[in-house]
Amino acid sequence: MPDAPAPDGASFEDVPRPIVQSRTFGDRVFRGVSAGAAATCLLIMITTGVFLTWKAFPAISATGPVEFLTGDTWQPDDEAFGVGGLLVNTIMIALTALLIGVPIALGLALFINEYSPARMRPYLTGGVDLLAAIPSLIFGMWGLYALSEPLSGVAEWLASHLNAIPLFRLTEPDVSLTRSTFIAGFVVAIMITPVITSVSRDVMAQVPRVQCEGALGLGGSRWGMIRDVVLPFGKSGIVGSILLGFGRALGETIAVVLVIDLVFQPNLNILEQGSGSISALIATKFGEAQGLEINGLIAAGLALFIMTLIVNLIARAIVNRSKLTG
């Protein structure tokens, strides 16, 4: 019910009075059980952090923490576990994914919010949600069997036409262009699109419509309205959604494993064969790992855990703040 002004002109707010009551036995049980469930979530994350650190310790101390974070050799027999190159490759895949995915995702978000006919809107949001629900394994298979071929053509084209950009250069003229960072990045880009689209769409949908209509009413074009009202309003939410997509891209496993060849050296020529990610390392080496190598894999997992945790918490903080101020 909307607020109705009181007869004397002063408006009263519809806020419930705080209820002071002694809690019944049932209430105390109910609160206890819910708090227990909530505490389980805390417990899971704390266990994760503690156990991973504990089990990672032997491998990290055998290699040395600096060597672990900067090295690019993985020799379980020599107790050398360096994930530095893999960290670089992980980030390269995620950045490639952002480079391709962000324009598509933001374009899609604006398309759904501002451009698409109203009748199509539920189907488009449904499609975006569906894209988020499709298993990463299926993305990987699609990337491997349907995309590799055409995308290596794209890579060839980029290498021959845009090699002014250092990223697109090749070390040798006839190096293989399949199973590269670029192809993995493209697949991951499609996978993070729904994340970025749905979060940024939510934020941009909170723009006060009055301001949008005002901008249009003043004679602004639709692009002018988006540029001057929607984007400034949703700026921090958009940045947050991109960071969320980045976090998702860092941790992506199966799709990446299927489309790349794992190498431990940092590879900055994104079109060339050979790439890697921490999660791909765990998934590939896990089957035959024994002894200290298992600790090494757990250490790599810990590095991934911390990296994604930081990115995600920053992203969430930005998104939540933009929703509060909005």
């Binding site: 419930p16 209820i19 809690r23 019944t24 049932g26 209430d27 049980v29 109910f30 609160r31 819910s34 708090a35 227990g36 469930a37 389980t40 979530c41 805390l42 899971i44 994350m45 994760t48 156990f51 991973l52 374009g107 899609l108 398309f111 451009y115 449904g126 894209l131 629900a133 298993p135 990463s136 394994l137 299926i138 298979m141 699609w142 491997l144 069997y145 349907a146 499609i190 419509r209 249009l216 074009s221 639709r222 692009w223 002018g224 969320l244 860092l250 941790g251 496993t253 199966i254 999660s279 765990i282 896990f286 757990i298 997992g301 855990f305 994604t308 945790l309 990115v311 995600n312 918490l313």
Partner: protein
């Protein structure tokens, strides 16, 4: 009204209980509902803004001309420069098309309009790209994998069966259309009402039977323990059993925890609410392989070995944040008036939650759980580290490695021969269809629930 709270589901929402007559209510017409006088928000959009159409015939002509000139330009350029790559052609065509739209609009109107048209074109292109990619992927998987799911029949049989199904579907469609029109006219006797329905249902059942009859039953009822890599036959029975058991375990663990956590976050708002929301956020960004790694570290690697149950726990860790966040959103949509009226009637908080809030939110909570299941069912990385996969049927989820659908696909993809990869594709179709069915079910239930909650 009695003080006893009853599960009345929606009575407070869509049927205003006889309110006392308002004195200055307009008495025009029959039985005006007092609530209707209040300026309540209309059904769909509070204010659908009027947009004058800014895309006229001349704009359409410009667009067609730009497209034609883009194609022609790219073709000429490729001919002159001797480029043969289709991608080069496509890129130049799109660039020239977009530039053409900008230039013509710039020449005819103004810079502002031209810029607007340029951005509109780019945004439509990105929307089309996303839709095309989703469609391409689904069609690609279906085309690659459908062959292994159906019986090997001669061509004539296929044509006959497809024709029969098409005929029956057509009959059902016609019947539905006719019945809908009859009912709209309101003129239907018993025979005219019942006969088309009977025919329609018979045809629907018939179409289903024909469709089911072509399914390759062996694929669903056998495992691949004794099937050599190059042999015919074999199936996903062991993987289906594993998926069923692991998902059941994951659901039984995660749904109660997630819904109670959501209740804690939104109904109780206790002291832990801030750290718990923080942690749930962190969990929802947890890479799925880390969820598997933690169960592996704590449970599997401490001498207990791979098992389906540990995979269930890993999947539960993935499901908890998804279900919690969705469930909290659902609880947020429930009107505070409901909770307060329950409290005002003297109900303790737990009765208000159990008998008022949860029944109202039921459909939404089911949707949240199904979406969680849909997400967990396709996860490969966590189950790889916990259930490991197996070629034999293992009914016991508490000991020994167990297969499931993603692991089945994953294992076969790494084998270098066509027959195994074809099996992987067929299993991928099953997995994709499972996810699609779960997803659509969740949406249908969710939409019905939302209609019920808001009384529309």
């Amino acid at each position: 009204m009695t003080v006893e709270l009853e599960r009345t589901d929606t009575i407070w929402l869509d049927e205003p209980v006889d309110a006392p007559p308002v004195d200055d209510a307009p008495v025009s017409g029959a039985a005006v509902d007092p609530v209707d006088d209040a300026p309540e928000p209309p059904a769909e959009d509070p204010d659908v803004p009027f947009r004058p159409s800014s895309f006229g015939p001349s704009d359409r002509l410009e667009m067609v001309l730009a497209a034609v000139s883009g194609l022609a330009f790219a073709w000429a350029l490729c001919l002159v420069m001797d480029w043969s790559h289709p991608l080069t052609f496509a890129i130049w065509a799109i660039v020239w098309f977009v530039a053409g739209i900008y230039v013509t609009a710039r020449a005819r109107t103004s810079k502002v309009v031209a810029m607007d048209r340029l951005v509109t074109t780019l945004i439509w292109l990105s929307g089309a790209f996303a839709v095309a990619v989703l469609g391409w992927m689904i069609v690609f998987v279906l085309v690659e994998g459908i062959g292994g799911l159906v019986d090997d029949l001669p061509r004539g049989e296929w044509i006959a069966r497809i024709g029969a199904v098409a005929l029956m579907v057509a009959v059902v469609a016609v019947v539905r259309w006719r019945v809908g029109r009859r009912e709209a006219q309101g003129s239907a006797g018993v025979v005219t009402r019942l006969l088309p329905r009977l025919v329609g249902s018979a045809c629907a059942v018939g179409a289903l039977v024909v469709l089911l009859s072509v399914i390759n039953t062996e694929f669903f009822t056998s495992d691949i323990a004794e099937v050599g890599p190059l042999d015919e036959g074999g199936g996903i029975y062991h993987a289906l059993i594993g998926t069923l058991e692991q998902i059941t375990i994951a659901t039984v663990i995660s749904v109660p925890i997630a819904i109670l956590t959501a209740i804690y976050l939104h109904e109780i708002k206790g002291r832990l609410a801030v750290p718990v929301r923080f942690i749930v956020d962190a969990m929802s960004g947890l890479p799925s392989i880390v969820a598997g790694l933690i169960v592996f570290t704590v449970w599997v690697n401490t001498g207990r070995g791979f098992s389906g149950a540990s995979a269930g726990v890993a999947l539960a860790i993935i499901m908890i944040p998804i279900v919690t966040r969705t469930a909290e959103e659902i609880l947020r949509t429930i009107d505070d008036g409901l909770r307060e009226s329950a409290l005002a009637l003297g109900a303790p908080q737990w009765r208000s939650v159990v008998q008022v809030v949860l029944p109202t939110a039921r459909a939404g909570l089911i949707t949240a759980s199904i979406l969680g299941v849909a997400r967990a069912i396709g996860e490969t990385a966590p189950v790889l580290l916990t259930a490991f996969g197996s070629a034999v049927t293992n009914y016991n989820p508490f000991s020994a490695p167990q297969a499931d659908l993603p692991l089945f696909i994953w294992g076969l993809l790494r084998e270098p021969n066509e027959a195994q990869i074809a099996r992987a594709w067929s299993a991928a179709v099953v997995l994709l269809l499972l996810v699609l069915v779960l997803f659509i079910t969740a949406r249908v239930i969710g939409e019905r629930g939302a209609r019920k909650r808001t009384g529309r």
